[in-house]
Symmetry: C2
C-alpha cells in the first residue's frame, strides 16, 4: 500500500464532505484525538456566538423561553443515535454526576447493595460506583477482564448473585477500545435480577447503539468526544421509559420538579426523563452540543460505523506493516466487530513517542503506562491522516527522535 492508495480512499469516501462541516484551523494537523475532544463544528461556532451575543447579551433572562427545553430537546436528538426513544434521554450535568445519580437510584430501586464492574473500567466510573455501593452499605465488585479483548459474559458470571443490584460497564473500553457485547451482557445481568448501566462515552457517535433492542436499562455518556459538543460539554443520561417512575434521583433539584416555577417546598418529580435533572444547566456549553449531534445524525450511524471500521482496519494494517519491528503491539481487538473507533498502540516508550508525535503535528493521546491511543472520527478523519500518522510514528521510532523527550509520565489529554 502506498500513500496514493490512501488518497484514493479519501476521494471515494461518501462522508468526505463532512470534513467541511468542521473548523480546520491548521490544515496540516493530523488530529487523532477526537475520542477525547471532538472538533468544533462550523454551525456550533455560529450557534454559540449567537447564544452569547444575542440570547444572553440581548435577550437576557427572557431567553429562558428558548433555553428551558434544551436538555430534553437535545436528548431527543441523541436518542435515535443510541436506539432510545424520545423522552428517554436528558442532557444534564457531567458523566460522573449522572453515573452517580443513576447508579444510586438504580441500586436503591433493587433493594440490593452491591455493584459489579470491570476492573479496567474508566477510573472515574470506578470511583463513583465504589462510593455509591459503599453508601448503600454494600461493595463494588470488580471483575478482571482481558486487557485487550475487554469484558465479556464469562468474566461477569462468577460475580453475579442476588446481592448485586447494578452492573455498570463501559460500552467501549477507554484504553483498549474493546467493544462489549451490550445485548448478551444486558440479558445476562437482567436474568440475574440486576440492572445494566452502560457508559457510552467512548461509543456514542462512533458505534451504532441499540439500547432498547438489547434490553439495556440505563446509560450515561459524554457529548464532547465523537458527538463534538465542546470541551466538558454537558453529558447525557438514559433511563428506559418503564423504569423512570421507579427511580428517585439522589440529587432532586428544581429543574427536575414537576412545576419548577411553582416553588413548592416539597419535591414532586416531573413526569418523564426531566425528573433526573438537578440545577440550572450551563447554557452556552449546552448550545454547543446541538450541532455536533446534528452532524452525526445527518451522516447516519451506519455510514459512520462503516468508515470507522475501514479507518481502524487501515490503522492496524499500517501499524503491522511499519511498527512491529520497533516492539510496538496492537492493544485493541483485531476483529472489527469487537472494537470501537480508537486503536491502542502499545510501546514501553509510549509517553515519549506521544510527545514526539505532537511536536510533529500528529495528536494522539497517551494512556498510562504504555498506550498511544489513536482515535478516528469518521466525520473528519481522513484515510491519509491515518497513513501519515503511522509513517510519522515509524520515522520517529526509526530515528529515535523520541529519546530526546523526558520519560516522565503525565498528560493532560
Amino acid at each position: 500500500m502506498e500513500r496514493t492508495d490512501a488518497v484514493a480512499l479519501d476521494a471515494a469516501d461518501p462522508l468526505a464532505s463532512f470534513r467541511d462541516a468542521f473548523v480546520i484551523a491548521d490544515a496540516d494537523l493530523i488530529y487523532l484525538d477526537g475520542n477525547s475532544l471532538g472538533r468544533l463544528p462550523v454551525h456550533t461556532a455560529e450557534a454559540m456566538a449567537a447564544a452569547i451575543d444575542i440570547e444572553w447579551g440581548d435577550g437576557l433572562v427572557r431567553s429562558w423561553h428558548e433555553w428551558i427545553d434544551l436538555p430534553q430537546a437535545i436528548g431527543d436528538a441523541i436518542a435515535p443515535l443510541i436506539g432510545a426513544h424520545s423522552g428517554e434521554v436528558l442532557v444534564t450535568d457531567q458523566t460522573s454526576v449522572n453515573l452517580f445519580k443513576l447508579a444510586s437510584a438504580a441500586l436503591n430501586s433493587t433493594g440490593r447493595r452491591d455493584i459489579v464492574t470491570d476492573a479496567a473500567n474508566f477510573p472515574s466510573d470506578l470511583y463513583v460506583l465504589r462510593s455509591v455501593a459503599d453508601r448503600a452499605g454494600g461493595r463494588l465488585r470488580t471483575v478482571e477482564s482481558d486487557p485487550v479483548g475487554g469484558v465479556g459474559p464469562s468474566d461477569l458470571a462468577p460475580a453475579l448473585d442476588d446481592e448485586v443490584g447494578v452492573v455498570s460497564l463501559s460500552h467501549v473500553a477507554f484504553k483498549s477500545g474493546a467493544l462489549a457485547d451490550m445485548g448478551e451482557i444486558s440479558a445476562m445481568v437482567a436474568s440475574a435480577g440486576a440492572l445494566p448501566l452502560w457508559d457510552l462515552s467512548h461509543s456514542v457517535g462512533a458505534v451504532p447503539i441499540e439500547l432498547a433492542r438489547t434490553g439495556a436499562s440505563l446509560a450515561v455518556g459524554c457529548t464532547y468526544k465523537y458527538l463534538n459538543g465542546g470541551p466538558g460539554a454537558p453529558a447525557f443520561l438514559y433511563v428506559r421509559e418503564d423504569l423512570q417512575e421507579a427511580l428517585a434521583t439522589p440529587i432532586p433539584g428544581w429543574f427536575g420538579h414537576a412545576d419548577m416555577f411553582g416553588f413548592a417546598p416539597t419535591y414532586l418529580p416531573a413526569p418523564g426523563i426531566r425528573r433526573f435533572a438537578s440545577g440550572t444547566p450551563p447554557i452556552i456549553s449546552l448550545r454547543g452540543v446541538q450541532h455536533g449531534v446534528a452532524e452525526t445524525a445527518r451522516a447516519g450511524m451506519e455510514a459512520i460505523r462503516t468508515k470507522s471500521i475501514a479507518l481502524t482496519e487501515l490503522l492496524i494494517a499500517r501499524a503491522d506493516a511499519r511498527l512491529t519491528t520497533f516492539d510496538c503491539s496492537i492493544g485493541t481487538p483485531r476483529r472489527p466487530a469487537q472494537r470501537g473507533s480508537h486503536v491502542a498502540i502499545r510501546h514501553l516508550d509510549a509517553y515519549r513517542l506521544t510527545q514526539a508525535l505532537i511536536d510533529r503535528n500528529v495528536v494522539p493521546d497517551f494512556r498510562a503506562p504504555d498506550v498511544i491511543r489513536l482515535g478516528v472520527a469518521p466525520l473528519y478523519t481522513r484515510y491519509v491522516d491515518v497513513y501519515d500518522a503511522i509513517e510519522t510514528l515509524a520515522d520517529i521510532l526509526e530515528t529515535g527522535a523520541h529519546e530526546a523527550y523526558p520519560a516522565a509520565r503525565g498528560s493532560v489529554t
Copy 2:
C-alpha cells in the same frame, strides 16, 4: 423627588463607568433581573469567542494545558469577594450538585443524621437537603421564619440538638431578599456542634461576605447572578481549609483525584479543594465566569454594597411614594443592613403586573404567588432605571393595563 434627581445621582455615581463594561444591546431596556441572570461583560464575550474559536477550534485537546487549572484559578478569584482564602474555593458543577456534595460530606463527618434549614429557603435547596438527610437515615427539620424579615437565631434555636449535623441556609433569601446574620448564626450552629453551610447565590457579588471572619465552615453559590458568569454557568463551593481533609465527597470523579492522569483504580483525593471536583467541567461556560468575577473585584465589594443600598433605598422610597395607594406592599426588610440587593414588591396581581412591565421594556421577575422581584446590580443598574421602573409600574396600576394579561401563574425567569 423628581427624575432629574435620579439623573443627578447617576452623574455622581463612582461606579457609573462600569456600565460600559457590559453589553447593552437595547439602551432603553430597564433590566432589574441581574439577580436572576447578570448581564454579559464585554470582556466575557471576547473571552468566550476566543475559547470557542481559538482554544477549542484551533488548540483542540492541547488546550487542556490552559483549561485544567481554571476551576481553582477562578475559585481563587472569587475567594476575596467572600472572605475566603486562596485554595478554599472551587468552581465546579451546579449549585444543587455542590450543595448535595457538601451537605452529604459534612453530615457524614459529624456522625449526626439531621439537617436544619429555613422553610423559606430556595426550594431546590430544600429538595436536596431533604434527600441528603433521608439517605443518612435522618430527616430535614424546617423552621418557620418571618416571611419578610427572614430567618434569625431565635427561629433556629429550638431546632438545634445533638442529632443535627448541618444547618444550611441562604445568606440572602431568594424571595424576600432578607439578609441573614452569618456571624451570629454560624457561631450558634457551631456551638451546637453542627456545621453551617451557606448558600451565597443571592449575595455573592452584591453583599460583602466574610466567611473566614464569621466562622462559616462551608458554602456554595452561583456565578450567573451578580457575578455575571452567564446562563447556568458553573457554580462554586467553599470548604474552610482545616475541614477539607475530613470531608469525603460522595461523587469522587477523576477531576478530584490526586493524580488524575495516573488512572489508578482507587480514589485518592487531591490535596486541597480540588478533591471536591467530579467530572470534566464545561469549559466554554466556565470561561464566562472569569471576567464577571474580575469586574466585580475591580469595583470592590464596599463600593458595590454602598451603591446597592442606595439603589434599594431609592426603590423602596419610590414604591412608598407611588405604589402604596395600589395595594402594593414591600416584602423586603426596610433596614438596609437586613437586606441584599433585590426588593420584593407584593401585590395580588403580581404575575400580570410582571407581564405588563416586561412588555413595557422593564424586566423584573415574578415569584409565586404575589412577588414582583426587582434586583439592582450596582455595576450596571442606574438610579434612573429604578426611578423609571417604579413610574412604569405606577402607570400600569393607574391605567389597569395589567388586567389585559392572563392571570395564570407561570414564569420561566
